[in-house]
């Protein structure tokens, strides 16, 4: 199973982004059931916030609810928030990952089924010795 960073969905949903096609292909593969995938509830918050700031609250809500209703996308919630956030803190201090990226990384490695993070964010190179990291760019697929 692949952990999909919010940057991929934002890329797929922004018609003006140079990576839109490569990101949309990932999203289409997820929806068609060809790419088992998970995102954290925090990732949905990032997507919703970015679209509410830049497009509109209505479009933001529609994008987030579309993902919630997508058949083949799992949404990860941490069971124990204290333990989860302690790990996020430890990862940030140990690797230099920005806090938000650490939330995604800890989410990904908390799920035994996840073997790869797919993202557009180059910060994740910092943990590529821990989990496979694929950084997409136009022409990479």
């Amino acid at each position: 199973m692949k952990y999909i960073d919010s940057s991929i969905f934002i890329g797929a949903f922004l018609p003006t982004d140079p990576n839109q096609q490569v990101c949309r292909k990932v999203v289409d593969d997820i929806i068609s059931g060809n790419l088992p995938a998970v995102i954290s509830i925090f990732g949905l918050a990032e997507i919703g916030g970015f679209f509410a700031r830049n497009i509109s609250q209505k479009v933001a809500s529609k994008h987030v609810t579309a993902l919630q209703r997508a058949g083949n996308l799992q949404i990860y919630y941490a069971d124990n928030f204290d333990s989860f956030m302690n790990s996020v803190l430890a990862v940030s201090v140990s690797t230099g990952l920005p806090g938000a990226d650490s939330i995604h990384f800890v989410s990904a490695i908390s799920l035994p089924e996840v073997d790869e993070i797919i993202t557009l964010d180059h910060h994740f190179k910092r943990v590529s010795n821990q989990i496979r990291v694929t950084i997409l760019s136009e022409g990479s697929q």
Binding site: V27, F50, N54, S61
Partner: protein, 81 residues
């Protein structure tokens, strides 16, 4: 000794709704969370690709109205801050 840890139940969605922090445009979000809370499942959109295509058109229309072209790079810069 000074207290250094504070614990409380987080505010829930109904609380956010009552405080008007959640705006009417996000009502479907509240409904989905309610559905998830009650049943543990959510009704799936069988025509999600069509929904995403329509959303792309709606997004493009708003971007043209605003005259802006945000990208993932903008998002990543915000996230790093």
């Amino acid at each position: 000794m000074a207290q250094t840890v504070v614990r409380t139940q987080p505010i829930n969605l109904i609380g956010l709704w009552r405080l008007k922090i959640m705006v009417p445009e996000t009502k479907e979000l509240l409904d989905i969370m309610d559905e998830l809370g009650r049943t543990g499942t959510v009704e799936k959109d069988e025509r999600i690709l069509d929904t995403l295509d329509k959303l792309a058109n709606e997004t493009m229309r708003v971007l043209k109205e605003k005259g802006i072209s945000p990208t993932v790079e903008d998002f990543l810069k915000e996230r790093e801050r």
